[in-house]
Symmetry: C2
């Protein structure tokens, strides 16, 4: 089961993400990032790989795509905010986006 990120975990795990293009959502406890790719094939290829990880971990993003752009928001609905699952999926997405 996921739990709301503790203050300590926020400092240690969120900080590197915030330094790597993620930002805190202004309206709720969530993190967001816009990924840009060369074209639609690359953008949707990224989404496809991320989708399989998301399903495997049973933790799904909110995301918007238009052509080469993918805007991602991560939060954990079950806990009403950020959990370790969001950090894990954010790191995976950064890795997949290469």
């Amino acid at each position: 089961m996921s739990e709301h990120l503790s203050d300590t975990a926020r400092k240690t795990t969120l900080t590197p993400l915030l330094e790597n293009g993620w930002s805190l959502d202004e309206t709720r406890d969530a993190i967001c990032k816009e990924f840009r790719f060369g074209d639609f094939i690359e953008a949707f290829g990224f989404m496809t790989r991320a989708a399989i990880w998301a399903e495997k971990w049973n933790h799904h993003p909110e995301w918007f795509n238009v052509y080469n752009k993918v805007q991602v928001t991560l939060t954990t609905h079950d806990v009403g905010g950020l959990s370790a699952l969001d950090v894990k999926l954010a790191r995976k997405m950064d890795g997949l986006a290469g």
Copy 2:
């Protein structure tokens, strides 16, 4: 090359879409629809099939997904509004969503 939909084409081609869950965007010349599926695998499966058609036709949707929900907006940026390509992709998506 795509052209802006004529008034006649709007009547004949848009009407069936508007009767099938599509609606006109209130802020610009575009059509929107929210598709709902049983789960994420079905929703992303739909997106994957639609993505390949979109790329094949070089006409890409704006779309948002969270879990089993896919919100689609179609418009033709090159013509600043709806074209026959939007109608074609909307019909295809309806077919893929079954």
